[in-house]
């Protein structure tokens, strides 16, 4: 056991902690307001890396510095995050009739998919080489509207709806839609960019990032690792200030407590929710870029899966809906994984044990009662 407590592992743990914290706040903020686990969040993280890769050059380096590429990556991810909310979740929130919900959600997704597919010329290679996986992905994607259809009909009095009850069918369709969004984005990324693992071209990464900036014990801390820690810390501090000090941040908290009353005060709840997706997605994009610089050669359509899952675990561990909890949970999960040689078992095991004792997570308070 003692040989796990090495400086190398500490450096790794800190980087993983920064990674999970940056992603976990996105899960927790969205959950805090719309009570939905946005399973597509891991894919936003993946897209962050891809957008930056497109800017710095996927096949041939464009000569653009990676730090410059972070900005468009954040903006594009924020746009994708808001589109996911608008196309998939908004119609469910509004409880629009079946036809509206399906046409808004389904058509938007199909449209986005078609544009993606058309815009990028040489996609045939990716299609054939991963045909099996692609067909599998699409078949699951196709299940989503079918299940939504069944549940929506159910809500209007069908057998399924009656047996599940109205509330659970609402929650269930939202959950399935979120999983569907995740699969759709993964599959789209695979169709467009193929299934290869990629890395940022060396030309785009400043040299100092691969040089030690200082030593922790006998372990060198490379510039890219230090960058990740500093950026994560700065973003957490910025997020904390945003949520606790600004008007939009106060509105976010108000919406997480009582959306109806927030609307009566003139707060446009849908806009606050969109803003939440924007912030969370931007932070996930930064995580996607910086972590891909750190490990190198990991950029693929699958890359969001495990970090997304672990960051979700971090958000739950810290107390889902609680931003500081997500930061703490992220660091804890990062340490648990970093100090155990990168396993997935230990973090999840500890999460389960903690939840047995504290079902609402470490910083999750019992639901506030309304007097």
């Amino acid at each position: 056991m003692a040989d796990l407590l090495t400086p190398e592992n500490l450096v790794n743990a800190l980087s993983l902690g920064a990674l999970y914290a940056l992603i976990a706040v996105g899960y927790t903020m969205v959950y805090g307001i719309i009570k939905l686990i946005n399973f597509a969040h891991g894919e936003i993280y993946m897209l962050g890396a891809f957008w930056a890769l497109l800017v710095v050059g996927m096949e041939q380096a464009t000569g653009i510095n990676l730090f410059v590429a972070i900005v468009p990556a954040m903006l594009l991810c924020a746009a994708v995050g808001m589109t996911v909310d608008w196309s998939a979740y908004l119609s469910l929130r509004r409880r629009l009739p079946l036809a509206d919900g399906l046409s808004i959600g389904g058509l938007t997704l199909l449209g986005v998919g078609a544009i993606f597919y058309k815009l990028t010329g040489d996609t045939t290679h990716a299609w054939y080489s991963e045909a099996a996986h692609g067909v599998f992905g699409w078949s699951i994607v196709a299940l989503v509207p079918v299940v939504m259809l069944a549940l929506s009909i159910g809500e209007k009095g069908g057998m399924l709806g009656r047996s599940l009850g109205r509330v659970s069918s609402d929650r269930l369709s939202a959950l399935i839609t979120a999983i569907g969004m995740s699969l759709i984005l993964q599959t789209l990324a695979q169709l467009v960019w193929g299934a290869d693992y990629r890395a940022f071209p060396q030309e785009s990464i400043p040299a100092w990032m691969n040089e030690p900036s200082f030593h922790l014990g006998d372990a060198p801390v490379l510039g890219k690792e230090l960058t990740m820690w500093v950026v994560a810390l700065a973003m957490m501090a910025g997020l904390h200030l945003l949520v606790s000090r600004t008007k939009i941040g106060t509105a976010m908290r108000a919406c997480s407590m009582d959306q109806e009353t927030a609307a009566l005060m003139g707060i446009s709840v849908d806009r606050v929710i969109a803003f939440t997706f924007l912030i969370g997605s931007g932070m996930a994009a930064v995580a996607g870029v910086l972590y891909s610089v750190k490990v190198g050669g990991n950029i693929s359509f699958r890359m969001g899966y495990y970090p997304g899952l672990l960051a979700f675990a971090a958000a739950v561990l810290g107390g889902i809906g609680n931003i500081r909890g997500a930061m703490l949970g992220g660091v804890l999960i990062g340490f648990l994984q970093g100090f155990t040689g990168g396993t997935f078992t230990i973090p999840f095991l500890v999460m389960i044990l903690v939840l047995l004792v504290l079902p609402r997570g470490i910083l999750g308070e019992p639901q506030a009662t309304r007097a």
């Binding site: 008007k247 509105a251 108000a254 005060m265 003139g266 309304r370």
Partner: protein, 236 residues
Amino acid sequence: MLELKNVHVHYGKIHALKGVSLEVREGEIVTIIGANGAGKSTTLKTISGLLRPTEGEIRYEGGPIHLVQPSDIVARGLCHTPEGRRIFPELTVHENLDMGAYLRKDKSGIEKDREHVYEMFPILAERREQHGGTLSGGEQQMLAIARSIMSKPRLLMLDEPSLGLAPIIVQQIFEVIARLNREEGLTILLVEQNASLALKTAHRGYVFETGTVLMSDEASSLAANEQVRAAYLGSD
């Protein structure tokens, strides 16, 4: 100022409002009384845009508002203080007031109005850094009214401001309501279970029964009406 014409509202299969027509004129306190489930709260929620009428029309200051978003209705100077106070429990008193002023951009005006409501409710000034959830029921009701005033409404809709409060606190709240109307010219639409108190405070009243307007008259005439006395005012 506010006019409802033949408004129908459905909750799924339940026909909650069956052709409600009513009017609120500038400078008035108008009250809606009636039993539980008569459609009083539904009427307020429909006016503030939380519910959509399936039929009929709502006009405010001349323009139709029944298809307008809740936030735009607040922007037009019509604010709804919901039933049960609905304070944001984990925001401070100060932040709750800020949320009332969410759509306003005039920083100095907001500051002035904040001082004004603190003068009106000194207890809120004392508790300004406390979380809303830690206030007593009466303090929360004061905060709910103060929060609505921060939006600078010309018409304020209050839903059951006396609910669950001690009689002495109810008295205070109603004095404030009367004062807001008298001294600041605020028009008020008041939904109240406590019919006798509501009719004492209001100029005119509407009596609701199962989603329809049973009768409407001057508040004093309603208070004297045999039918109203028997059904809503008890024996006193």
